[in-house]
């Protein structure tokens, strides 16, 4: 604690210094109660190190603890294919695959993904070598403005895997049977990806084509 210095702190915005586990806070404004505490100035914004694998490449990042998986991909790894739409898990634009499962990367802290394998739209295919789902979206006009498309494609890839893995859905009639691909299944399973241009029917067609090549 050689670099420690005295800070005047209010109780307004409380944070906790990791090394010393003392309660401190920052900021100006009305001072309700003043406490004089010792804190390492480097701890004012708590940060931590995360190791994960993104699109097949090991990554180590030191991040503000608040950083979402989405922001770590976009702002720290410059993988801007994954989009920030609502930032509240309501639109699906930020959908990525984590250990093979689709999630909303906006509702996950980067720190929750120690050791995880993350695949973004950049990891599915490249302009020279499109993933079959990307090619099918192009062929069937599965987008208009394109903003929701990376999330739609990641989700669509995962949906086909989920059906194959036997995960049922709200519209599966008999829960004890292996679910089968259908337009209704696609519509239900893709409901977490909103497209304000309304490309839904073309997205469903793109998914049907990729599915027909799988089976």
């Amino acid at each position: 604690m050689k670099d420690s210095k005295k800070l005047i702190l209010t109780r307004r915005e409380m944070i906790v210094g990791t090394a010393t586990a003392v309660t401190v806070s920052l900021g100006a404004g009305t001072i309700e109660k003043v406490e004089s505490l010792t804190i390492n100035s480097a701890d004012i914004v708590p940060s931590a190190t995360i190791n994960f694998n993104v699109n097949g490449k090991a990554q180590q990042l030191n991040l503000d603890t608040r950083t979402t998986l989405l922001d770590s991909l976009r702002e720290h790894l410059q993988l801007t294919g994954t989009k920030k739409g609502c930032d509240h898990g309501q639109c699906g634009a930020c959908t990525v695959l984590v250990n093979g499962r689709r999630i909303n990367s906006c509702l996950s802290l980067a720190l929750q993904h120690e050791g995880d394998n993350i695949v973004t739209i950049e990891g599915l295919g490249t302009p020279d070598k499109l993933h079959p789902m990307q090619a099918a979206f192009v062929k069937h006009d599965g987008y208009q403005c394109g903003y929701c498309t990376p999330g739609q494609i990641c989700s669509a890839v995962a949906v086909l895997q989920e059906i194959k893995a036997g995960i049922p859905s709200h519209v599966s009639e008999d829960l004890t049977l292996q679910p089968e691909f259908s337009n209704m299944e696609v519509r239900e399973r893709m409901s977490g990806n909103i497209c304000r241009c309304g490309a839904y029917s073309n997205i469903a067609e793109a998914m049907a084509e990729v599915n027909s090549h799988l089976s």
Binding site: I103, L109, V159, I167
Partner: protein, 316 residues
């Protein structure tokens, strides 16, 4: 989002002890609800204890023939489990009626039970809300209350519990298993788990400070026909206006819990003997003490109709 420090823990006991050590901390599991609320500064923990990688993500058969569901099992994995799909269909149906594929992949069993209300006034930090800021008042009672509670509410709060899964758990008589910072294990029947708002709507469950849910235990399968009928403004990815979870038995009896009407899944076992008399008789008894607003009184009729549909299907 407010700053916070972060730690990962490796056992449930360690998690509870860490919470006791750090005032103002919260457990972080899936995070799909907590992080959303932290972005809006409705939740402002100073320290997060990440329990996400604890070994609490399994389903085991209990000695008595029931199921022990790990607190961290994802909603997807719980709904896809073959035992659940065969013997506890009401639970699989409820889970699959909730949220989106992405959210179900991340959301956990315990997190689902503990999710906060979707009352718009709870989310709007410009409005008074006794649940968000105790003592500040309730903007919902005189506001847009179409989505909100019709029974069990108080003058302090008319919020509803948003979970579908919890409705099924209530019909199934699930038991919630917890551990406290001293390592003591406790079993809480779900009927006793949620608190009604009264004058303290910010206290939503009987969980003590720093107590951690480790699993949810289901009794042996009760047989019967299982239904979960959810009524909502769009047919997918929306919270319920009302939902009815029902297990109907051959002798005409039933286990029935209702969602979207109160601060907890609503069930009254003592009136389930009138199920054979039909949806109208049952609903009238279930909502005898209801105090709906003008905007949400329709929910009672909606429950009756949803139940009527279920009973018809059960008879056919």
């Amino acid at each position: 989002m407010k700053s916070f420090t972060y730690e990962r823990v490796h056992t449930p006991a360690e998690a509870a002890a860490a919470a006791a050590r750090m005032p103002g901390s919260k457990f972080l599991a899936g995070g799909t609800n907590l992080l959303d609320l932290m972005k809006l500064q409705i939740e402002t923990p100073v320290h997060l204890i990440d329990i996400g990688k604890l070994e609490l993500n399994k389903i085991e058969h209990t000695l008595t023939g029931g199921l022990r569901i790990g607190a961290l099992l994802s909603n997807t994995d719980l709904a896809a489990d073959l035992s659940v799909r065969r013997d506890y269909q009401i639970l699989a149906r409820a889970l699959l009626a909730g949220a989106s594929g992405q959210l179900r992949n991340k959301a956990t069993t315990a997190g689902n039970l503990l999710q906060r209300t979707r009352c718009p006034y709870f989310y709007d930090t410009n409005q008074p809300c006794n649940k968000r800021v105790p003592g500040s008042g309730c903007a919902a009672i005189t506001g847009f209350s179409r989505q909100l509670a019709v029974i069990g509410s108080s003058n302090a709060c008319i919020a509803t519990h948003p979970s579908d899964m919890a409705v099924a758990m209530m019909a199934l008589d699930a038991v919630i298993e917890t551990i406290n910072p001293k390592g003591k294990v406790r079993l809480i029947p779900i009927a006793d788990f949620y608190r009604l708002p009264g004058k303290t709507p910010h206290i939503e469950t009987v969980l003590e400070k720093n107590e951690l849910i480790t699993s949810v235990v289901l009794p042996p399968p009760s047989g019967g026909m299982h239904f979960y009928h959810k009524v909502r403004d769009r047919s997918s990815y929306a919270f319920a206006l009302v939902s009815v979870g029902a297990i109907l038995h051959k002798d005409g009896s039933g286990q029935i819990a209702v969602g979207g009407v109160a601060a907890k899944p609503w069930r009254n076992k003592s009136i389930e003997k009138v199920v054979p008399l039909g949806a109208k008789a049952f609903t009238e008894k279930l909502f005898a003490k209801a105090r709906p607003t003008q905007e949400n009184a329709f929910k009672i009729q909606l429950v009756e109709r949803a139940l009527e549909g279920i009973l018809k299907e059960g008879r056919s």
